[in-house]
C-alpha cells in the first residue's frame, strides 16, 4: 500500500442505483496510486474536459461495452489491420490490441504541445543541415564533436549536400510522456522512419463505427487529413524541374515487413504507388519505375527502408531491398528521399539530451517542450553515477528502438544489473540513463475490468514547405499491470487519441 504523501482515494461508487442494476463501465475504477490519470482527477472525478466522455461511456453496462469490443476486434480482423509475427514459415498476423476507452487532450494543452513540436522539428532540421555543412554547433562547443560525428546515424556521404527544400526530417514521430504532475516531457525523437500513424487513422475509423453518437456529442479534432497533408508535403519538396504534379511513391521493404500494412495503407490513402526496391531502377542518375508500358520517372520517394538498405552501391552491399544507384541519383538532385539520408544522428539517444540547447542555439527561443533529464554515459561522472544507481534508473542503448536493449533498474534483478553494468563499462558511448518516470495512466479494459494502464503519446509532425502536426497521435498503452513498456513489439496496445476542440 502507498504510504506517506499520497491521499487515499475512493473507488467510484455506483450511486443511487437499485441492487438489480448491472454494473457500468467505470464502476469501481481505482486510479493508480501515484501516476497522473488521463481521465480522472485525484478525487476520482473526471477532469473537466473529460466530463462529457466519462458521462457517455460511463453510462454503458459492461455487457454493452463487451459487445462493442467484440465488434471492434472483428472489424480489425476482417480488414486485416495486422502486423506480422514470424514464428513459422507463413508468418502469423496479429491485430494490434486496441482499447476502446479514448485518451483525451484539452485544446489549450494541445496548442502548447503543437507549438513545442513544431519548434523542436525546426531545430532538428537546422541541426542536421548544420552538422552536414558548417558544423557551427560543434565549433562553438555546445555538443561534443565526437558525439555527433561518431554517431552511428551520421552519414559522411551527406556532407556538403542539401536535400531539396533543405528539409531532412519530413516525417517525425516524437514520443511524449506525462509525469506524475501531468507535465508532458519528450522521451525521444524518431527522425528516421517512424511508424504507427496508420493505427491512428484506423483506430479513429473503428471508434466512429462503434460509437457514432460519441462523435456527435463531443467535438474531436479530425485526424483524417494526414494522408493528404503528407502527400502535399512530399510533393512540395520535389526536385527542381520535376513534372507537375510530381511522381511520388512509397518504397516498402516488401510484404513480409511487419509494418507492410501501414506502407500499403499510406500509399492507398495518398493515392500514390506502393513500390518495392526491385520495381525501381536508376539510369543516368535518374530513378525510374518499371511499368507495363515502359519506365516512368520518379521524383519523390517516401522510403520506409533504413539508410543501410537503400542502395547497395552506397551502403550495405548485401541489401536486396534497395535500389542500386539510388544514392547517386539523390546526390545528383534528381530525386527526393523522405526522410533524408543521415537523419539517424538526431535519433541517437546520446544526442537527444542536447535538443533543448539546439532550440536555443538555432532559433534563439526557449524550448516549449522539456526533455527527461538524461545522463550520458560517455561523460565520466555521468557514467559513474549511472553505474552506482542502476537499480533506480532506466538505462538505454542509444541506437535501439522498440523497447530493445533497455534496463528497467527498479524492476530488474541484481544479476541482470551486473550483466548490464559490464556492457555499459565496455562501451559507455552506447548508453544513456534516465530516472524512471511513472508514466501517466488511462482507464483501460483488462481481464479485471477497467483498470489504470500506463500510456505514452507519439504525435506525427510533417514538414514540407511548412510544418504541420497531426492532432493527437498514437497513444500506446502497456497492457500488463504496472508495466511502463508500451511498445507493440513488447505486447503493448493502442487507443484513440482525442484532441478536443
Amino acid at each position: 500500500m502507498p504510504t506517506v504523501g499520497i491521499e487515499p482515494r475512493l473507488p467510484i461508487r455506483a450511486s443511487n442505483r437499485g441492487p438489480a442494476e448491472p454494473p457500468r463501465l467505470f464502476d469501481g475504477y481505482s486510479p493508480h496510486p501515484s501516476a497522473w490519470d488521463e481521465l480522472f482527477t485525484r478525487d476520482v472525478a473526471p477532469h473537466p474536459h473529460c466530463d462529457a466522455l466519462v458521462d457517455r461511456l460511463g453510462g454503458l453496462h459492461l455487457t454493452e461495452f463487451q459487445a462493442k469490443r467484440a465488434n471492434a476486434d472483428l472489424a480489425f480482423v476482417n480488414q486485416g489491420i495486422t502486423f506480422s509475427v514470424y514464428s513459422d514459415q507463413r508468418g502469423v498476423e496479429k491485430i494490434f490490441p486496441f482499447d476502446l476507452i479514448p485518451r483525451t487532450i484539452p485544446a489549450g494543452e494541445w496548442n502548447v504541445l503543437e507549438a513545442g513540436l513544431i519548434q523542436r522539428v525546426q531545430a532538428l532540421n537546422l541541426f542536421l543541415h548544420d552538422v552536414y555543412h558548417d558544423q557551427r554547433i560543434l565549433k562553438e562547443g555546445l555538443i561534443p564533436t565526437e558525439l555527433v560525428l561518431g554517431s552511428k546515424g551520421y552519414r559522411k556521404e551527406m556532407i556538403g549536400f542539401t536535400p531539396p527544400g533543405g528539409v531532412y526530417v519530413h516525417i517525425c514521430g516524437t514520443d511524449l510522456i506525462r509525469d506524475t504532475n501531468g507535465q508532458f516531457l519528450v522521451l525521444e525523437d524518431n527522425g528516421r522512419t517512424p511508424s504507427g500513424v496508420s493505427y491512428v487513422l484506423e483506430n479513429r475509423a473503428v471508434m466512429k463505427r462503434v460509437f457514432p453518437q460519441l462523435f456527435h456529442d463531443i467535438r474531436v479534432k479530425r485526424v483524417e487529413d494526414y494522408p493528404r497533408r503528407l502527400r502535399e508535403a512530399l510533393a512540395s519538396v520535389a526536385p527542381f524541374g520535376a513534372d507537375a504534379p510530381p511522381c511520388v511513391v512509397v518504397l516498402s521493404p516488401g510484404q513480409y515487413n511487419s509494418a507492410y500494412f501501414e506502407h500499403s495503407f499510406l500509399a492507398r490513402h495518398m493515392g500514390v504507388e506502393l513500390v518495392f526496391g526491385p520495381d525501381l531502377f536508376v539510369d543516368n542518375d535518374v530513378v525510374y519505375l518499371k511499368t507495363t508500358r515502359g519506365p516512368q520517372r520518379v521524383d519523390v520517394i517516401y522510403r520506409r527502408l533504413d539508410d543501410d538498405f537503400l542502395d547497395p552501391e552506397a551502403f550495405r552491399p548485401d541489401s536486396l531491398l534497395g535500389v542500386p544507384g539510388l544514392f547517386r541519383a539523390y546526390r545528383a538532385g534528381n530525386v527526393t528521399l523522405a526522410n533524408a539520408v543521415g537523419t539517424g544522428v538526431c535519433d541517437d539517444k546520446a544526442v537527444y539530451p542536447y535538443t533543448e540547447d539546439m532550440v536555443r542555439f538555432y532559433l534563439s527561443e526557449e524550448p516549449l517542450l522539456r526533455n527527461v533529464p538524461t545522463h550520458i554515459c560517455d561523460r565520466r561522472e555521468d557514467c559513474e553515477f549511472t553505474l552506482a544507481n542502476l537499480d533506480k534508473l532506466v538505462v538505454k542503448a542509444v541506437n535501439e528502438s522498440g523497447g530493445y536493449g533497455m534496463l528497467m533498474g527498479p524492476f530488474s534483478t541484481a544479476a541482470v544489473r551486473a550483466e548490464f553494468a559490464e556492457k555499459v563499462r565496455g562501451n559507455p558511448r552506447n548508453y544513456v540513463a534516465q530516472p524512471v518516470v511513472t508514466l501517466s495512466t488511462c482507464p483501460t479494459w483488462t481481464d479485471e475490468g477497467v483498470a489504470p494502464r500506463h500510456v505514452d503519446l507519439r504525435p506525427y509532425i510533417i514538414t514540407g514547405c511548412d510544418t504541420w502536426v497531426l492532432p493527437g497521435g498514437l497513444t500506446r498503452t502497456a497492457l500488463v499491470k504496472g508495466s511502463l513498456v508500451v511498445n507493440s513489439s513488447q505486447g503493448g496496445g493502442s487507443k484513440d487519441t482525442w484532441v478536443l476542440e
Partner: protein, 330 residues
C-alpha cells in the same frame, strides 16, 4: 502500372479461378457420379491427373482425393493453397484493389484458416464446394462494381480467362483418363453421364441444352464442340481466348497501328490453330492431343505475358556506367 503490381493482379485472378474450378470438379464428381457404379479408381484418379498431380502416393479413394485437392497445403493446386495465394497476392496489392474486395477476400481466407470452412466441409460437402465456388463469383462481382476498369482490371480479366481456358481444357481431358469399362460402353449411359459431368463441371449444362441444335448423332462430340468452340459460352476455350486477346490489347495500350506484343501474337496463334480445325478434325486427330496442345500453349502464353509486361527491360540507354560512382565529399 507497376509491372509487379500487374503480375499480382493477374495471379490473384488465376488463383481465384483455380479454386473455383477445383471446387466445381469435386462437387460434380461428388454428387453426380454417385448414381453410376464406376470403379473408384476410375472416378477419382482422373481428377488428380488433370490437376497435374502425377505422383499421389496414396490410394485414390473419394476421401483421399478430396482431402488432397481441398486442404493439402503442400499441393500447390489445392483449394486451400489457391485461396491462400490469392489472398497473399491481394494483400500485397491491397492499395490497388478496392477495399471491399480486400475485406471479402480476407473474410474467406479467415473462413478457410480458422475452422469455418473445415466445419462446412465435414458437415455438408456439397454446400462447402458451392461456397468455395461463390467466393470467386462474389469477388468478381465486387471487382466489377467497385474497381476502376483500368489497367489493373484488364490484368485481373486476363488472369481469369487464361486460367479458365486452361481449366476447361483440363476438365474435358478427364474423359481421356476415365477409361470406360468396355469398348461397347461408348454412347452408353455411363459414357453420357461422363459427358454430362464434364458439362456440369464447366457450368455448361444449361447453356448447352438451351442452344438450338439438331439432335446430335454423337453427344460426346457435341459437348466437346460446345466447350471448345462456342462463341457465347463464357467458359468455352475459344471465348476465353478472345477475352484474353482483348484484355492483352487493352493492357498494351490499344493504340491503332501498333505492333502486337509477343503475348498477343501467341494468343492469336492459338485461336488460329483452333479455327483452322472443326470438331470433326479435332476428334480425328485425337481430343486429348488437341487439349494437350491448348494446355501447353496457355503455358507459353503465360510465359510471354511475363516477359512482355511483368519483367520489362530496365535500361533507358546503353550508356549507363556501372560502378563508376564518384561522391564529392565536400
Amino acid at each position: 502500372m507497376i509491372s509487379r503490381v500487374a503480375e499480382h493482379c493477374f495471379w490473384l485472378a488465376r488463383y481465384l479461378e483455380r479454386a473455383e474450378n477445383t471446387a466445381r470438379i469435386l462437387e460434380v464428381n461428388h454428387t453426380l457420379l454417385l448414381d453410376f457404379h464406376v470403379p473408384v479408381e476410375h472416378q477419382w484418379k482422373p481428377l488428380l491427373i488433370i490437376s497435374g498431380v502425377h505422383d499421389y502416393p496414396h490410394e485414390p479413394t473419394a476421401e483421399n482425393v478430396q482431402q488432397h485437392l481441398t486442404w493439402e497445403a503442400d499441393n500447390p493446386v489445392s483449394i486451400a493453397s489457391s485461396l491462400w495465394w490469392a489472398r497473399e497476392n491481394a494483400r500485397i496489392i491491397r492499395e490497388v484493389i478496392s477495399g471491399e474486395m480486400w475485406e471479402r477476400m480476407n473474410f474467406y481466407h479467415l473462413w478457410m484458416q480458422t475452422g469455418g470452412g473445415r466445419l462446412a466441409y465435414d458437415t455438408n460437402r456439397t454446400d462447402f464446394y458451392a461456397q468455395v465456388r461463390r467466393i470467386n463469383q462474389l469477388l468478381h462481382g465486387i471487382a466489377d462494381a467497385t474497381m476502376s476498369h483500368g489497367e489493373a482490371w484488364e490484368f485481373f480479366k486476363l488472369g481469369t480467362y487464361l486460367e479458365r481456358a486452361s481449366q476447361t481444357a483440363r476438365t474435358m481431358d478427364v474423359k481421356y483418363h476415365t477409361l470406360l469399362p468396355k469398348l461397347e460402353d461408348v454412347g452408353s449411359p455411363i459414357d453420357n453421364a461422363h459427358w454430362v459431368a464434364i458439362l456440369m463441371s464447366c457450368s455448361g449444362y444449361e447453356p448447352f441444352h438451351k442452344k438450338p441444335r439438331l439432335m446430335p448423332i454423337d453427344p460426346g462430340a457435341a459437348v466437346a464442340e460446345f466447350l471448345i468452340y462456342d462463341e457465347q459460352f463464357p467458359r468455352s476455350i475459344r471465348r476465353c481466348l478472345w477475352e484474353c486477346e482483348s484484355a492483352t490489347a487493352s493492357a498494351a495500350g490499344n493504340a491503332a497501328g501498333r505492333t502486337p506484343t509477343e503475348a498477343e501474337r501467341k494468343i492469336t496463334e492459338l485461336i488460329a490453330y483452333l479455327d483452322a480445325r472443326g470438331i470433326a478434325d479435332v476428334i480425328r486427330e485425337g481430343l486429348h492431343e488437341t487439349l494437350t496442345h491448348v494446355v501447353d500453349s496457355v503455358h507459353a502464353i503465360g510465359h510471354s505475358i511475363h516477359t512482355t509486361f511483368f519483367n520489362p527491360p530496365t535500361r533507358m540507354t546503353q550508356t549507363q556506367t556501372m560502378g563508376g560512382m564518384t561522391q564529392s565529399q565536400g
